[in-house]
């Protein structure tokens, strides 16, 4: 269980998160949606220790994560697929995968695990020797997810996995997420593409200007007028030009 309680994060004088509280149970898939600058990436960075917490608590199975070094948090099975993928472009695809599998000391176990994960990503398997910087955006996203899976995560945090991808690739990424969900991996998905996020998760939080504006099950929120209002910050019914949540700013 991951619990975030009244979390505040600041960048100097700018307050990025203002009292965020949320929970994610084991095996659950939860999304956080909201417009650009809402603080979604910051939330994931705070959970993984990338940015310091100004106030509030983050606990995983009852243990505080606040103030812990990033590598210790990763060691607990919390893995982030960052926005723009964070691929090591100067390393080969195989070396990127080895970075994910670094905790596995036994060479044959490492090879088996890489082989197992690559069953999900056949396009990557064909490009193991290629520099990762030469993969397409969709292939890089697959590599980023594959690499994170090799850390054997208990919770997988995904920051805008569909960003900048062609529609076909977005379909593929979401198919992979559905399979991971089926395998019981806990997912925390950050997305601007609200409809996709609702389809892919059990529950959803709407974040705007560092605050949670709305939360509920994905089924409840799908099509609910207050969902669009919370996302955009105005009554959607009074603004007929901005009724679609797909590709929201």
């Amino acid at each position: 269980m991951l619990t975030v309680d009244t979390l505040h994060v600041r960048y100097g004088s700018i307050v990025a998160l203002r009292g965020i509280s949320l929970t994610i149970a084991d095996g659950e898939a939860v999304s956080v949606v909201g417009p650009n600058g809402a603080g979604k990436s910051t939330l994931l960075h705070a959970i993984t220790g990338v940015v310091p917490v100004a106030d509030g608590t983050i606990t995983h199975d009852g243990d505080s994560l606040v103030g812990r070094p990033i590598e210790r948090i990763v060691g607990r099975g919390i893995s982030l697929v960052p926005e723009h993928r964070g691929i090591f472009t100067s390393l080969t695809v195989e070396e990127n995968l080895l970075m994910g599998a670094r905790a596995l000391r036994d060479r044959s176990e490492r090879a088996m695990e890489i082989d197992r994960v690559l069953e999900l990503f056949p396009a990557i398997r064909e490009r193991l020797r290629r520099p990762a910087g030469r993969l397409s955006g969709g292939e890089q996203q697959q590599l980023a997810i594959a690499r994170s899976l090799l850390t054997r995560p208990r919770i997988l945090l995904l920051d805008e996995p569909s960003l900048g991808l062609a529609p076909q690739m977005i379909e593929l990424v979401y198919e992979i997420l559905a399979r991971l969900r089926g395998e019981g991996i806990t997912l925390l998905l950050v997305e601007q593409n609200a409809h996709r996020a609702l389809e892919a998760t059990d529950r959803c939080y709407v974040l705007r200007t560092g605050r949670i504006e709305l939360s509920g099950t994905s089924a409840e929120l799908r099509g609910a007028p207050q969902f669009e209002e919370a996302y955009f910050g105005f009554d959607a019914a009074s603004s007929p030009d901005d009724t679609s949540l797909d590709g929201a700013p």
Partner: protein, 294 residues
């Protein structure tokens, strides 16, 4: 033809030393974004270690010098640079200069500021002739050591787990941490390697010039830094290329400049490097570091 071959040997010798300096500086910059001007003082302390151990068997001098410089590099990382980790670039630069001056003055307090002579490996100063080219044996040994060291380091960076992690950390330290790479260990390892590189430069440099001063590391560190910039900051291959390029330009200028202008060789050297940077301000080899918004 012989002149070309002679110039090539000279360029490989001078460029090799610059490449090792640049690699030591570039490795640390790549991972912690710190321009370690104290790297020159690592070389200088290595030189004084050779002086202290003069008379002992060569193997012992070499081993002890390398150990002294590695310990110094690790100590500087732990005491001075680790507390500054993540600080702004100007803070890191001032910290780096402070460490550099501190070490210089500690040595000055012990040995004074004057030049001290040291006669290390005198038998290697004898010239060897081959294919119409004459070069001191030490120059050839220096080239061989440089090649072996660069090949060994390239192998370690490419084929070992720590090497892959170090390259990953050099490209994007935060992402490497998100893969679970232990920052302190990988940075300490980088400093240890930079210590080995500085120690080797110290041994070769002292054997070549035969004199020591507390400021002897300043010029090589400056050249090493320039080589990393010309080669492309953050690129280890770029650092090596930059080092060899500066060595080659230095030797070429020595050959082509009229006698009365040779005293001003460095003006032409840095002028040509400036021109290179005008054409490629990002350096010869560019590493695309991942950046993401928060």
């Amino acid at each position: 033809m012989n002149e070309v071959l002679q110039a090539a040997v000279d360029a490989a010798s001078v460029g090799g030393i610059y490449a090792l300096m640049a690699l030591g500086i570039g490795l640390i910059f790549g991972i912690v974004r710190l321009v370690n001007f104290a790297h020159g003082e690592f070389v200088m302390v290595g030189g004084y270690a050779v002086l202290l151990l003069a008379g002992a068997p060569t193997v012992a001098v070499v081993a002890a010098t390398l150990i002294v410089v590695i310990v110094l590099a690790l100590g500087v990382e732990r005491v001075a640079f680790r507390p500054l980790r993540g600080a702004a670039m100007p803070t890191l630069l001032v910290g780096s200069f402070a460490v550099s001056y501190f070490i210089q003055h500690v040595v000055m307090m012990s040995y004074g500021g004057n030049t001290v002579g040291v006669d290390f490996l005198p038998r290697l100063s004898k010239s060897i002739e081959f294919g119409g080219v004459s070069a001191p044996a030490l120059q050839l040994v220096a080239i061989a050591i440089t090649v072996l060291l660069l090949a060994g380091l390239a192998f370690c960076l490419k084929a070992t787990r720590f090497g892959i992690e170090m390259r990953a950390a050099a490209e994007d330290l935060r992402m490497a941490r998100l893969m679970g790479v232990p920052t302190n260990l990988i940075i300490a390892l980088a400093f240890a390697i930079s210590g080995v590189l500085a120690g080797v430069v110290a041994i070769v440099y002292v054997a070549q010039i035969g004199v020591l001063t507390p400021r002897m590391g300043v010029q090589p560190a400056l050249i090493g830094f320039v080589a990393t910039v010309v080669g492309g900051m953050g690129s280890l291959l770029g650092a090596v290329v930059g080092g060899f390029l500066i060595g080659t330009i230095t030797v070429l200028l020595q050959v082509v400049l009229p006698l009365e202008l040779r005293d001003f060789r460095d003006a032409f050297l840095f002028g040509s490097l400036f021109l290179i940077l005008l054409v490629r301000p990002q350096g010869l080899i560019v590493v695309r570091s991942a950046r993401e918004r928060v």
